[in-house]
Each structure stands twice: as C-alpha cells, then as structure tokens.
Symmetry: C2
Subunit: 211 residues, 2 copies
C-alpha cells in the first residue's frame, strides 16, 4: 500500500509558519524565509516554469516535495478561501490556473463543494467526512505512488496523532520565527524513529518513521 | 579569545527537559530519555569510571561535551539545591564528591556563597553579578580552551539573547516530550547560521554559530 508522507520545513524554534497567517500571507510573518533553501534550486525553478538554478544536496528533497507523490491531502486553511461555507464564486486555491500538483488533491473541509478541475492534471476534491476517508480516497487515486500530506500544521498533527503518517521529513532551518504555528503539538501517543539525516546548504533534513 | 559554546540535546518537539523538574528528577518527566544516544558510548562510560561501550558517529559530540572545555557556566537550577539563599549545610551539586567537570564551574545565582572545591579538579564558584561577569571569569579560568555553557534552558536563552554564545550544537532526538522547558524561547534578536550537521544513531547533531 502506498505510504502517507509529510515533507515540511520547520524553524529551529519549532514553527512551520509565522504568526498572522492570512490569504495575503499564507505562511505568516517571516514564514516565507522557511523556504530559502528550496527557492534557488533548479528543481524548484523548473517546476515553476523557470530556467537555471542550483543543484546540491537539497535537490533530492525538493524533488520529493515537488514530484514524489500521486495524490496530495491538505487542510482547508492551506487551500485557502477563508473559513465557513464556500462563496458563490468560490476560491480556486493559491496556485492559479495550473497548480504545481499535477495530480488529485483532497482538501479537508466541513463544507461540501463539487470537485474543481484545473489545468495540468490537478483536480481538487473536497472531503467532508474526515481524515481517514481523505486518506482512503487519496490512496485509491495515487495507485502505486505515495500520498503526500500537504499541510498545514493542524492537519499534520491530526494524521500524526492518529498514527496514520508513515514517513515524515522535517527540514530544519536556522531561522528563529519566535511565534506562529507549531508542527509538534497535540500529537497524542505519536512516537517517531529517526531513519536518516542529510546536511544541505542552510538546512538539515531528518527523515522519521512511525516508531 | 576562547569561544562560549553550548551542547544541548533537544526533543523533536523542542524541549531540553520534560515537565516537573525537581531535585529527584533534574530533567523532568521523560527527560532522561533525551540522553539515550549518549549513555551507551564508551566516551561517556569512561568519564563515569566504567569500561566498555560503543564508538560511533556520536562519539566526537560526546567527547566535546565531556572534555571539550576549560571551564563551565551553569544556572542555579542546573546546580540544584532549590531556590533562595543557601542553607547552612549547603547543597554540593548533583554529581557527588568527584564531579565529571574537572575544571572550574561558574554557577549563576542571586545568593553569594564561598567557592566549593571538590575532588578531581572541579571547583564551583558562585557568581552573583550576572552573565557577562560569569563569562569573563570563565574565560579567564579556561585559558586557551573554550568555555562550555552547561544550561539549563533559561541561562542558555539569556546568553543567546545577549549575543554572547559563539557556537551551539543542538542534538535533536526523535523523542516527543509534549511539555517541559524549551530552549528556543525569549531569544531577543538572536540569529543563527548552520555550520554542519551530522547523523548519528538515534540523533542528529546540528552545529550553529551566531549569524
């Protein structure tokens, strides 16, 4: 069965987003700096239609984030569009007409909505019956590929606490965010084991599995 | 001038001690598990008078903790003996007659006390005029060796926030402590840069310097 995995970048003080997350600032104040290791990479630039860029020890982790899954699960906050029922001209996500997913994306929400098919193979499905149902649907869609947990922190915590997350890569950057959304909270009995760690320029990637 | 450096083990959720620290449980509930990577090592066993033990990628970090400094600074909580003035038969520290430091140790406290000379080269000096004075005295005592910041979390935060810490090795273990003392809080404008990271069995060591 395909694995459910989460790749997430965390500040050394434990935040995966800064304070004051909003539509204008999805990663909160200072949160964009979390991805300073990712943005200059050739793999990232290519996935966003640009040329050039660096190839270094971070590249395999970027490739895993960008193209390592057959389906994605994300929370309503990460998809965006504000809380509550969907508006008449509903929010299409943060990513424009051709989102970088190129596979089915399952959005956890309390509010039903018809699937949203965009360009390049990305269709957003809105799941209202919980994290296990979303995982089941995502696994079916992913076939023999893995399922990526897109975030944010709250959804990641729910899958961790439920023991449903198979693999977790935490990319730890030297940034001090001081406030914001923590990944490692509300974890229930979750136990982790370290599999490997890799030093890259400006970041350390640590791979964990469920212990 | 000798460097001020801190080697500290942190759970993946950011704690350097569990909840409920006390004389009986100096690292709080579950906190002793932080050092599961350190205890089986030959370097650790030798420093505590035992034979045998493992040699692996963690060994250089253990040696740095155990013998890499000419003086140590620690907080009153780490030395122990409870808050307030020293009692008539004062607390001698957690480490018995022959503490594993074997060099001068400067204890930050609000309460004056005569130096305490124990066996094996360890003398505790009680510093009441602040972190800069303690650092000055420790540097003088260390000669051309480095000064080690022993902890706990609060003292480490004060040196980090004051920009006085030259080097920080955070040994991150897969433990989830859920509550306790955080290292990375109250840091003022502290900025860090990653120098290296090293994978060891059950732990990842990341070395930072002041940015």
């Amino acid at each position: 069965m395909s694995k459910l995995k989460l790749n997430i970048t965390m500040s050394i003080d434990g935040f995966v987003a800064g304070p004051g997350q909003s539509v204008e600032q999805p990663l909160g104040a200072g949160g964009e700096d979390l991805h300073d290791w990712l943005i200059p990479l050739k793999a990232f630039r290519e996935s966003h239609g640009s040329e050039g860029g660096e190839v270094n020890a971070n590249t395999p982790f970027a490739e895993d984030i960008l193209a390592g899954a057959g389906a994605t699960i994300m929370g309503r906050n990460m998809f965006g569009g504000g809380p509550g029922p969907w508006s008449e001209k509903p929010w299409q996500g943060y990513w424009g007409d051709n989102p970088p997913y190129h596979h089915p994306v399952f959005v956890l929400t309390s509010h039903p909505r018809a699937p949203l098919e965009l360009q390049g193979g990305t269709t957003f499905y809105f799941v209202t019956d919980g994290i296990e149902s979303a995982l089941e649907q995502a696994r079916a869609a992913a076939g023999d590929q893995d399922v990526s947990l897109g975030g944010g922190a709250s959804v990641a915590q729910q899958y961790l606490a439920a023991g449903l997350l198979d693999e977790l890569v935490v990319s730890i950057v030297p940034l001090v965010l001081r406030d914001g959304a923590r990944l490692f909270e509300n974890l229930g009995d979750a136990k982790l084991a370290q599999v490997e760690s890799v030093e890259g320029p400006g970041v350390t990637h640590i791979r964990y599995v469920r212990a």
